[in-house]
């Protein structure tokens, strides 16, 4: 890796994003709009005694989930474009290292995700009355980490798509099972054993558990830090796999 090339690549990706104002607007507004929708759905639901309100429970998971799904889609399409327009082949004939490119995407989209998480958190805490025992900064941190995981998975999955149509189809394959099994719909402890085993190997389960820990405890818990480490490790693993899909020579 070369700091100058990494900085140039990160700047280039951010510049591309800046020229696409509609995408930036969608990135920043859509999660907040959906939180408002979730709030309207649950506002009149009575909370079970001694439990967080349904809105608090759902909104907390949503704050982690939005950056995950959005960044997965944005990254897999962006990387697919690099592959199909020939810019990737060209980049690989220059002094740019594979990690310069992958980390460039990670940093650029990671920054976008932080901004997105901050906007969504301000709306959730400030306007919709979201209440968590732990600090909202931890929620933003876990949401941003989730976005990095999604970027890494998107970089990896783009290698298996030939067209944008295929890339979009990876979203339900990679994202939806993780959402279904993360413990939002059925608590993980109440799932059948084999479903629990599947849930145990899906990184989003740990991100959701970390968020729930922030919701329940005033101070960061050991479980939360362990979960954060698992998500970070999964992101690193996906990045290594993505690097393995970047071949300088092809047939």
């Amino acid at each position: 890796m070369n700091p100058r090339i990494l900085a140039a690549t990160t700047g280039r990706i951010l510049r591309q994003l800046r020229h696409d104002r509609r995408t930036v607007a969608l990135l920043l507004v859509v999660p907040s709009a959906l939180l408002v929708l979730v709030h309207s759905m649950y506002v009149d639901q009575p909370a079970p005694p001694g439990q967080p309100s349904t809105f608090d429970r759902v909104a907390l998971v949503m704050l982690g989930f939005f950056p995950f799904v959005v960044m997965f889609l944005v990254t897999s399409i962006a990387m697919l474009r690099e592959r199909t327009t020939g810019t990737l082949e060209r980049l690989l004939t220059t002094p740019l290292g594979k990690l310069d490119l992958l980390f460039g995407y990670g940093i650029a989209f990671g920054l976008a995700a932080v901004l997105q998480a901050v906007v969504a958190s301000v709306v959730a805490y400030g306007f919709l009355g979201l209440d968590t025992a732990g600090h909202s900064g931890l929620v933003v941190m876990i949401a941003s980490l989730n976005a990095l995981l999604a970027v890494a998975l998107g970089l990896f999955c783009s290698a298996f798509a030939r067209t944008e149509f295929q890339a979009v189809q990876f979203m339900p394959v990679v994202v939806v099972p993780q959402l279904l099994l993360c413990g939002l719909f059925v608590p993980r402890g109440e799932m059948a054993g084999w479903l629990q085993a599947v849930s145990d190997v899906l990184p989003l389960s740990y991100a959701v558990e970390a968020l729930q820990e922030v919701g329940a405890h005033a101070e960061p818990s050991g479980t939360m830090w362990r979960d954060v480490a698992v998500v970070a490790g999964a992101a690193a693993l996906a990045l290594v796999l993505a690097a393995a899909t970047l071949r300088r020579r092809s047939g």
């Binding site: 100058r4 591309q16 004939t93 002094p95 740019l96 300088r248 047939g251």
Partner: protein, 242 residues
């Protein structure tokens, strides 16, 4: 003779089909060498082997004294792909500056490369809004910007008007005079006449490696167009007879 590129018995297979059958060729330093041949004859595959992005079946390609694709060569070789490969959602200037930064060059070099391909008036325009010819020149600017020792250009003048083509070829020769080696594929014969040397390939085999004058003499005609037709037909006849 000091070669910039030495290709030895190069065999390449793509999709189960043999595309290059034992190519042997040399490209001298500080010259403009034209790579010509009918569509589908293997020109792009040979260029990809030279820049080291092609999986090679057998043989060797040595570039500036190193095996093609060596990490050290990535700073010394510039490659223009046949399809323009620039970022459509960046301006011409931003594209040039990014590729300049990859090669450790600054904004001044980027702006100069944009001016050299005649795109200074469109420098602030998004690549997506350029015409086809403009876009391929933007792509060319991104290959020139690193001021490499060897430039591998896959059909750099497609879609350009005659005035621009003449300008670009004058620029190629000025660069060669300053010591840069250029390997340029084309299928336009008036461009072949402008090259110092010609490589003519047909169906993955080299059928001529000479100066334009020598190619004309070998074919027994003053017209390069006619010379190529004769060489290609002679090659086809020879193959059928063998």
């Amino acid at each position: 003779m000091d070669e910039a590129i030495a290709v030895r018995d190069l065999v390449v297979e793509r999709g189960g089909r043999r595309v290059l059958h034992g190519i042997r060729a040399d490209v001298p330093r500080g010259s403009v060498t034209g790579l010509l041949g009918p569509s589908g004859s293997g020109k792009t595959t040979l260029l990809r082997a030279v820049v080291g992005v092609q999986v090679v079946g057998a043989g060797s390609v040595t570039v500036l004294g190193r095996p093609a694709g060596s990490p050290e060569l990535r700073r010394r070789v510039g490659y223009l792909t046949q399809a323009p490969s620039v970022y459509a959602d960046l301006t011409v200037r931003e594209n040039a500056r990014y590729f300049a930064a990859l090669h450790g060059r600054g904004r001044a070099e980027a702006d100069r490369a944009v001016a050299e391909v005649g795109l200074a008036p469109a420098a602030g325009q998004l690549a997506a809004t350029l015409s086809g010819g403009q876009r391929s020149r933007a792509s060319l600017a991104c290959a020139l910007v690193g001021e490499p020792e060897l430039l591998v250009l896959d059909e750099p003048t497609v879609g350009q008007d005659p005035v621009l083509r003449a300008d670009l070829w004058a620029r190629f020769h000025a660069m060669a005079a300053a010591g840069t080696t250029l390997l340029v594929s084309s299928h336009v014969m008036d461009e072949a006449a402008r090259c110092d040397r010609l490589l003519l390939i047909r169906e993955g085999r080299l059928i001529a490696d000479d100066t334009p004058d020598a190619v004309r003499a070998a074919a027994g005609t003053h017209d390069l167009d006619e010379a190529f037709l004769r060489l290609i037909r002679a090659g086809a006849g020879g193959q059928e007879a063998s």
